[in-house]
Symmetry: C2
Subunit: 252 residues, 2 copies
DNA sequence: AAAAAGCTTTGATCCAGGTCAAGGCAGGGC
DNA sequence: GCCCTGCCTTGACCTGGATCAAAGCTTTTT
């Protein structure tokens, strides 16, 4: 049994019905479960593992861990949105990614986290001792394969983001961002239009390498040109997807 | 035997003494060899694989593959420097990384390359059918592990680069770049000072999200303030590593 | 319901780095 | 040797997005 650690004291463990013995649902997104899809992971093994999982629920703005902390825990997002970011000493921030249900965080090559993680919305996560995963990987090579595929996908996304940060202008960045959110929504079976944009202007700015003012002005421009419409509840209606796509590709 | 494909026609296969049966040197960097370090890969297996490897030598500026090409080949750099980049339709370019001896390129989740690859200097590479690697991974799980570690490292580097591109100014970018080159040199057992900078101003600019003019001016500034000295042969002498480090971290 | 605290938007101004233009300098071909 | 070509550097100017400032709007507190 893992006792709640100091840094995670504020986290409320969910009493939860996904304790040991729950049915194996590939998409319910706990690490064991999402990874077990393609492995011959056995019931008994799964049951043992479920015992060391800790499900937790956090409010918006809760810091899960910070860059440089000892990385002995691994998290799997089960609902809500998280943000990963890096800071410069003077406070400048770069958000490297937003995570949704099913995404992993906390994987690390050396023994400290390479970034900080904070909740954007209310979120639920599944915590898991890193060592245990490593042990699991020894026994179930197919999990390793799955993990590698995940890392490869993240890497491809990171390369797209480098192109955006290094070479796109403000309008192109916002267009790319909206399409990304829209595509991710589709992939997860949610409605892709209007797009739900749960993060603040400041988070968007720090993700796109802009300022809140520029983000706001650019949204206004896109709204004025009828490409999008801003709706209440942080929703954005995409009126002209082709125009947005051309902008995002830098073709316009 | 793999016939030379159309796109690789210009590549000169090296007659080479690293054909089948050569000694197994972990750091000689062909994929089989560098991966075999931590696997129980057997002599016989290795010998069979060496037969399908194609060693090649390319001149500076040679395109190995382009974004969108069918990704059926995998490459391992054995000497020289390569660059990976993405383009926007209007020609804006973002270099996502420079590869040195021992680095892999061409790994891809779907079946097309996500970026283009071109040689910066004269370089030698080892070409390898992707399918063959996949088959190998089935049999040797530890290779998978190694590959995952590589992808994780690349991912961490990509996140550092996002911070650089999104939030650092020109001086901080150049400082970070020089320190990166220096550190990589050390890790590979080369002299780290003066640093060898084999790429053109234009490549540096496209890697750092700047223009050639700004790169040039910034080098001049650092030279004027005695932090570095520009030497002949594309070498840069680091005079004040601490100052450079403070700049790179955004602490100055 | 009023006050307070945070976002978000909009406006006015500024400046780091981009753009445009012109030399400088080194290597290669003849 | 001398031109040609392709970097690299430097200068002059411009601009997209940052910065600074001030309202709106929303949400929370009391």
């Amino acid at each position: 049994m893992e006792p709640a650690t100091g840094t995670h004291a504020a986290l409320a463990p969910i009493p939860a019905n996904n304790a040991a013995g729950t049915d194996i649902n590939p998409c319910s997104a706990c690490p064991v479960r999402s990874l077990s899809v393609c492995s011959a992971l056995e019931q008994e093994e799964l049951r043992r593992l479920a015992e060391i999982l800790v499900n937790m629920k956090v409010e918006p703005g809760h810091t899960m861990f910070s860059e440089g902390d000892k990385a002995d825990m691994l998290f799997n997002v089960t609902s809500g949105t998280m943000k990963l970011y890096k800071l410069l000493p003077d406070g400048r921030r770069q958000i490297t990614g937003f995570l949704l249900a099913g995404d992993f965080m906390g994987l690390s090559v050396n023994d400290t986290y390479a970034y900080s993680a904070e909740s954007v919305t209310q979120a639920t996560l599944c915590r898991f001792p890193r060592r245990r995963l490593e042990a699991l990987l020894e026994d179930y090579p197919k999990m390793q394969r799955r993990l590698f595929a995940m890392a490869s996908n993240e890497l491809a996304a990171a390369q797209d983001q480098m192109l955006l940060l290094g070479r796109k202008n403000a309008k192109e960045r916002i267009a790319s961002f909206l399409l990304l959110l829209s595509q991710r929504a589709v992939r997860r079976g949610f409605k892709d239009n209007p797009v739900h944009v749960p993060m603040s202007r400041s988070d968007i700015a720090d993700y796109l390498g802009l300022t809140t003012e520029t983000v706001s002005r650019t949204f206004t421009q896109l709204k004025t040109s009828r490409v999008i419409a801003l709706m209440e509840g942080g929703k954005v209606k995409i009126n002209d997807r082709d125009a947005l796509q051309d902008l995002a590709d830098g073709a316009a």
